[in-house]
């Protein structure tokens, strides 16, 4: 990439970061972290298995265009493979199959199996790194799946990193106590924890929210303020919006 993206520089996700978790608090949309990471993944020539539980393909295509990559084209070329439970759920309505069965363990088991087979195909397709990106795992709770199965599901996803070329990125949001438990679980096992939250005291025209980056092994948590624009995200150190926005 010719231009360096400031958000990606701030995040500084390396290939040695095998497990990345993103935590979304409050009213701020943390989707920008994933869309920027997609840009980094594609820019480095890597492949991706994308489990979409929150937004539609169209959304990623639109955002991708603004950030400089063609999402649908990458799917056509096989660099990105998507798994869309939302679509399957819509097809299942009325059928009581797949996502609507009573035994919820089978739901997560089926989802994991399809993820695993997709990842294996992607790994065989080339020598690049393969990323598993899940957006957003907290929605599995909305499907009525018990917490214990989701925790097992996370364990299974972590077992994928046995292959040196695989990294896992999981997005979560916090709305209830169970969501909090999933986030905390990921916190213990992640190499990088990115937390996105709104400003504590209200809304600002100049700052959209706060970004916390915690890397395992480092005690210090890096904090940034960020502002969301049409074309991208700008990050700056706390309180320095004045220096960065009005240049």
């Amino acid at each position: 990439m010719a231009t360096i993206n400031p958000l990606l520089v701030s995040l500084d996700i390396k290939s040695s970061d095998r497990v990345v978790s993103i935590k979304e608090n409050g009213n701020v949309d943390s989707n920008f972290v994933i869309t920027h990471l997609i840009k980094q993944i594609l820019g480095d020539g890597n492949r991706m298995c994308f489990v979409i539980l929150h937004n539609t393909l169209g959304h990623y295509q639109n955002v991708g265009k603004r950030l400089g990559y063609d999402f649908l084209k990458q799917i056509e070329e096989g660099r990105i493979r998507t798994i869309e439970p939302l679509k399957d759920i819509v097809e299942d309505i009325g059928n009581e199959t797949n996502y609507f069965v009573d035994d919820k363990e089978q739901v997560v088991k089926g989802l994991f199996k399809s993820i695993k087979s997709t990842m294996e195909e992607l790994v065989e397709a080339g020598s690049s790194r393969v990323y598993l990106v899940i957006d957003d795992i907290s929605h599995l709770l909305d499907l009525g799946i018990d917490l214990k199965y989701i925790i097992s599901f996370i364990n299974y996803c972590l077992s994928l990193i046995n292959d040196e070329r695989i990294s896992v990125v999981i997005n979560t949001h916090v709305c209830s106590k169970s969501d909090e438990i999933i986030c905390n679980n990921l916190n213990y096992v992640s190499d990088v924890v990115i937390e996105v939250m709104p400003l504590k005291t209200g809304v600002s025209r100049e700052v959209t929210g706060l970004l916390n980056i915690e890397k395992s092994g480092k005690e210090q948590v890096t904090q940034f303020h960020f502002k969301a624009y049409d074309k991208g995200i700008k990050t700056f150190h706390l309180g320095e919006s004045v220096y960065n926005l009005y240049k």
Partner: protein
């Protein structure tokens, strides 16, 4: 001192480390594992329930690692061991370390986990059991903690820089202490909390000069002090002439004085 209690022989039977996201117990577990791995006369068994098994296995070549994370629910039909079988097969002298009690709870339920730990505790060849309980992953926190604290012989609640531990000695004496701790390059160091030294505090307070702490002028100059002492406060009684409490009112230009009594029409 906590480190003394952790290391004295015979080892305390069941060590429970209660941690949370703000005060993680991973480093302490690593320290305890390393201590045990170095010993020759018994084997250290590490039951891996959290994280990636291969990563943990490579990090601990001195322990026998059991994989309870890659296929815990048998979704992939890999040949994985059942916890009960592994425990019943522990014959020699050993130390059992379970990296996450919460995962055992989610897999086997509270009853199953409690029974399993009771079984391990009753085995004579197991010299010590060490486990970490992530308190912020529990749905029914108080109940679970209560049961496992009862089962444990040394349990410690980790807070950001302090640890509150309860040690049940074999002579039925119970020691409950709050100590400071820090982890430095693989070592776990605890010390009792020191009371602040009065002389040191007095000295630091005397050294503080408020003038230097802000860009505002806080103190008073000599001239300010003089004019302050010369100020006459209007509401305090004056030293000279007191004239029977009469009110002297000087009329303004726009005032018009009405001689009538406003309360005349009242029938009081």
């Amino acid at each position: 001192m906590l480190t003394t209690y952790l290391n004295t022989l015979p080892y305390t039977k069941f060590v429970l480390i209660e941690d949370s996201v703000t005060a993680k117990g991973g480093e302490i577990l690593e320290y305890l594992l390393k201590n045990h791995e170095n010993k020759q006369d018994y084997r250290t068994h590490l039951f891996v329930f959290e994280r990636n098994f291969n990563q943990i296995k490579n990090k601990h070549p001195g322990s026998e690692c059991h994989d309870f994370t890659s296929d815990l629910r048998n979704w992939m039909s890999l040949t994985t061991s059942d916890m009960e079988t592994v425990i019943s097969n522990l014959e020699e002298n050993c130390v059992v370390v379970i990296d996450s009690l919460v995962h055992v709870l989610y897999r086997y339920g509270l009853l199953g986990a409690y029974q399993t730990f009771t079984d391990i505790k009753n085995k004579k060849n197991v010299q010590q059991i060490i486990t970490v309980l992530h308190t912020d992953l529990l749905e029914d926190r108080d109940k679970v903690i209560q049961y496992f604290q009862h089962l444990s012989t040394l349990h410690m609640e980790l807070q950001p820089k302090r640890v509150l531990y309860t040690y049940k000695k074999s002579q039925r004496k119970i020691i409950k202490q709050l100590e400071e701790y820090y982890c430095d390059s693989g070592k776990f160091i605890t010390q009792p909390i020191k009371k602040p030294d009065k002389d040191v505090i007095r000295e630091t307070v005397e050294q503080i000069n408020p003038e230097n702490m802000s860009t505002f002028k806080i103190g008073l100059s000599e001239k300010d002090k003089e004019s302050r002492s010369n100020l006459v406060l209007p509401y305090l009684p004056k030293e000279t002439n007191s004239s029977d409490g009469k009110i002297h009112y000087a009329f303004d230009d726009i005032d018009d004085w009405d001689e009538e009594d406003p309360d005349d029409d009242l029938d009081i």
